[in-house]
Symmetry: C2
Subunit: 225 residues, 2 copies
DNA sequence: CGACCATTTGATATGGATCAAGCGATGTGG
DNA sequence: CCACATCGCTTGATCCATATCAAATGGTCG
């Protein structure tokens, strides 16, 4: 919410910073033409209604996109972790706002640059379509999650987070309970109670509030339907 | 649910039916390379988990996409009306199933054909990205709707339907109350009660259950946040 | 140590679900 | 042409999962 870094280094088309460190295996070509940017935690990256001139790829840190309704309710659209691309969700102007959750490094890629490149290079065009469809699939899943019970939503969320931190059953949550609640369409109290309950049934362990160990994925998966 | 038309006319790459009648203004080039198909009402177009080999454009009629959870709950992902394109929501296999709501005519377009064409023609590639992003935007809106109150959801739904039948405040609903309920994450009873309530506050008129007249869009819009 | 913030826990309220009839339109067979 | 079954929708009564309100706990930082 609090903008700690309002002055974006505006990348220009002529910029030739190459961003080299390959984050994961994912979308290969895109980040090579982007500009690295650094944000403090809870910084606005873009606001709802702003023109969507850039796509972003997370290098380190974590990002949330969200929308605030007239009466203050907030819906979080997604959490983006290292390797994820965001800013695709709109054509002209953003439907959601984006903020960092923790101190983060991103790569910003000018939309027009990609569009131009995509017009020439069909591999880029295809990549772009691919990433967008991935995002669409993700939102569809999220949509389905919102009709489930509180326990199913939380279990699903934890499994989703675990899948994104492969190789371990221990999940470090960069986001607050309030963020999780607004992502799942629940209240902070319900999220907390549900976590406690999952712990009491030995489905998870909670060494600390931001660290969850999945002890019984089968149980969690069953809850997930 | 009941499959009345299980034998799809499988379109082949060699098919040279040109589909000429331009439905609306929207996505121009896509349907010209498709194959027209006719479905009775409540026919399955494709099932969840099936490979997503085709995109479809609605010519006449109406389509719903949906997902059934283990315990039978159904979430409707979207309603598609004449001019709309669907089947984009996945890369390899469908995440949702699709059914006609009423007798319908569709144009089926082979995915591989489009991909091939998109590789050659950047206008097609761009169109494809555009349609997908539109769909993404729509799902995001839907997501946000699901955290609202029952009355807001119903009001929002009616406004959305009205926007898709321009030039009039009278909306003909091709879908049942159950469909609307499953789209909005409510029960049929709640949808019905909410409609009745909106009628009693003169926000809408209900000449018949499938016909809604929006009498006060301002009130409805306010509810919509 | 004390202030602050995030989280948990407890008590109560409520919106929408569930269970249960009733009603009106449509269709079917006698 | 009418009795009656069927189906989609509405209306009513009650229940419950989650929200709301309130307070206690715990962790972090100056």
């Amino acid at each position: 919410m609090i903008v700690q870094n309002a002055s974006h280094p505006i990348p220009t088309p002529g910029n030739i910073y190459g961003y080299i460190t390959a984050p994961t295996e994912a979308p290969g070509s895109l980040e090579t033409m982007g500009v690295p940017m650094t944000f403090k935690r809870n910084s606005e990256i873009y606001g709802e209604k702003e023109p969507s001139d850039y796509l972003y790829k997370v290098t380190t840190g974590a990002v949330r996109t969200y929308r605030i309704l007239a009466d203050g309710r907030r819906q979080i659209g997604a959490f983006y972790l290292p390797g994820d691309v965001f800013g695709l969700e709109s054509r002209k102007t953003h439907v959601f706002s984006a903020e960092t959750i923790t101190d983060s490094k991103l790569v910003a890629i000018k939309r027009s640059t990609i569009v131009t490149l995509a017009a020439r290079d069909s591999a880029v065009a295809r990549e772009l379509w691919n990433v967008t469809t991935c995002e669409l699939e993700r939102v569809q899943q999220h949509l389905v999650a919102l009709i489930k019970s509180a326990e199913e939503r939380v279990a699903g969320f934890l499994l989703e987070m675990a899948k994104r931190t492969p190789g371990t059953n221990q999940v470090q949550l960069p986001m607050s309970r309030q963020d999780i609640a607004d992502y799942l369409g629940l209240t902070i109290e319900t999220v907390s109670r549900t976590m406690t309950h999952l712990e009491s049934t030995a489905a998870i362990a909670l060494p600390s509030s931001r660290c969850v160990v999945l002890r019984n994925k089968v149980t969690l998966g069953r809850l997930n339907s």
